[in-house]
């Protein structure tokens, strides 16, 4: 109970971090009763928070083949034992991609990014212009290219900075809107692509006409200018930028309890 009081006081005082606001905003975007393909890190935090708050019937699918996982803490890896032990079904990796992701059974794909560009294309492969001789070698694609293509919609969660929000990604690992309207349709991609980019500063959404990522929402205390400064292109700003409601005491308490349970794991 003291934890709840602390969270309530923290919520009243606005005593939360930008990362907590980002996780809360991302969790709110997930609808109850839908299935969500979850990556490790920020997406997993947000999806598990959603399942504990407004979306108890959210189905978490991890690429390790654990379908309907209900972990009691945040797994360090995509295939921790707690995911298999709590899942509705455990299937092989070919099956999770071929039978479950590919036909469009999964509503939301939840991705992170090392770089993201104006049209929501994502790079997690290399930094620098030369693939064979990269400035930085990143982990690579994992499940992301097909998640970005085949989930009915994609939500990206990523901290906003000029290093990450670039005019053009150095390498297209996961296709967003390519160069603009019509590119997804021309390529035959079935999902609708990135519908929300949730950052520690606010939320960007593709413009319905141009597909360009546009600032539509700011988290409490963040000015438009700060979002512009953290973006490597001339950021389009909606004429009606909304304000994200701050984290509630329940959201904050649940998020902190989840992270606390994670820290107590060996």
């Amino acid at each position: 109970m003291s934890g709840q009081q602390t969270a309530a006081q923290a919520a009243r005082r606005g005593d939360w971090t930008a990362d907590e606001m980002m996780s809360v905003a991302a969790a709110r975007a997930l609808r109850d009763g839908t299935a969500c393909f979850v990556g490790i890190g920020l997406p997993s935090t947000a999806a598990n928070l959603a399942r504990r708050t407004h979306a108890p019937s959210l189905v978490l699918v991890y690429e390790s083949g654990t379908i309907g996982a209900k972990p009691g803490w945040l797994p360090l890896s995509i295939g921790d034992g707690v995911l298999a032990e709590t899942a509705d079904a455990v299937v092989g990796v070919p099956e999770v991609f071929n039978y479950w992701l590919q036909p469009g059974r999964i509503q939301t794909g939840f991705l992170g990014a090392a770089q993201i560009d104006r049209f929501g294309n994502i790079n997690t492969t290399v930094i620098g212009p030369d693939y064979r001789n990269p400035a930085v070698r990143l982990p690579g694609a994992g499940g992301a290219p097909e998640i970005a293509a085949s989930c009915r919609e994609v939500i990206v969660i990523v901290r906003q900075s000029r290093r990450t929000f670039v005019e053009r990604v150095d390498f297209v690992t996961s296709f967003g809107y390519g160069g603009g309207p019509g590119d997804r349709e021309r390529l035959g991609l079935r999902g609708s692509g990135p519908v929300l980019v949730i950052t520690d500063l606010g939320v960007l959404e593709p413009d319905p006409g141009t597909c360009e990522l546009t600032l539509t929402r700011l988290h409490p205390g963040v000015e438009v200018e700060r979002a512009r400064e953290a973006t490597g292109w001339d950021l389009a700003v909606s004429s009606q930028v909304e304000a994200s409601p701050p984290p509630t005491a329940t959201e904050l308490d649940t998020l902190r309890a989840l992270e606390g349970a994670t820290r107590r794991q060996p």
């Binding site: 390790s64 455990v90 092989g92 693939y131 982990p139 690579g140 694609a141 994992g142 293509a149």
Partner: protein, 272 residues
């Protein structure tokens, strides 16, 4: 029928310089002890294949076993980068490392094609990504029934598939459960195969969701308790997250890695 032998004998018999080798395990049941035995036996010029090369591949690459890596996600899960892998790609240390890069869906299908005895597999994948331009084993293909353009990926051509499992019986029938990744495909898709197991038992007991690789599909079985550490073996031990975190500073530094290699791997004997 699988031969039940020691790990040292199995690696000596099955893994040769220049082979294409997959040590599979999707976070769970990673055949770490087998990888370290390959290091100890000084194999060179290997093409290493795996969806998720993690720290045992970082160790094998840093030890100079590999000339090529075929993969879809290379990292230390939940921790960060594989620094020996990065050093090999960016600086050619200790030897240059060629890479062939895919997505998980593509790699999984390459295993399925290999296990199915087909030259390629078909999927909806890679469209619009820059992977297509850099990876010759990804090609467009037209459906003969609908005319739709899909993606073909070439079957993996594996000399050796290596997995770790919970247990085997004395005839060499291998049983594994929990997250099973592409282990079945890695064994059935390879010319030779090795299963290291936590224990050899008189009789396999049924387990929910378990898969059995019959003895006649596996070349060698070796009993290696703890052979998946620091990954986990469901029902036997948990993932050693501290080891994954501790690996980061070791792998960042060539001297620290070299010291680790000589004291922790080369100086020790194979478990069995």
């Amino acid at each position: 029928m699988a031969e039940v032998v020691s790990l040292r004998e199995a690696v000596a018999e099955l893994v040769h310089d220049g082979d294409t080798v997959a040590l599979e395990g999707f976070t769970h049941l990673i055949p770490v002890a087998a990888g370290q035995e390959i290091i100890r036996q000084g194999r060179r010029g290997l093409t290493l294949v795996r969806l998720t090369p993690d720290i045992v591949y970082d160790q094998m690459i840093g030890a100079g076993c590999a000339r090529k890596l075929v993969f879809s996600w290379g990292g230390n899960p939940g921790v960060g980068s594989l620094h020996r892998f990065r050093d090999a790609v960016q600086n050619g240390w200790p030897v240059p490392l060629e890479i062939e890069e895919h997505s998980h869906a593509g790699m999984a299908n390459r295993y399925v094609a290999a296990a199915s005895g087909l030259p390629f597999a078909v999927l909806r994948g890679y469209v619009g990504t820059d992977l297509v331009a850099h990876t010759p084993t990804i090609r467009p293909i037209t459906c003969p029934f609908t005319g739709e353009v899909l993606t073909a990926v070439q079957a993996l051509d594996l000399d050796v598939g290596i997995v770790h499992a919970q247990r085997a019986d004395r005839e060499g029938n291998v049983q594994l459960w929990g997250i099973t990744g592409v282990q079945k495909e890695a064994v059935l898709g390879a010319r030779r195969s090795l299963a290291t197991v936590e224990e050899v038992v008189d009789q396999l007991q049924p387990k929910p969701g378990a898969m059995v690789l019959p003895s006649w599909t596996v070349s060698c079985v070796a009993e290696v308790p703890g052979g998946a550490h620091p990954s986990y073996a469901q029902g036997y031990y948990e993932r050693d997250n501290d080891y994954y975190r501790a690996w980061d500073p070791i792998s960042r530094d060539r001297d620290a890695f070299t010291e680790w290699l000589s004291t922790q791997v080369l100086a020790s004997k194979a478990a069995t």
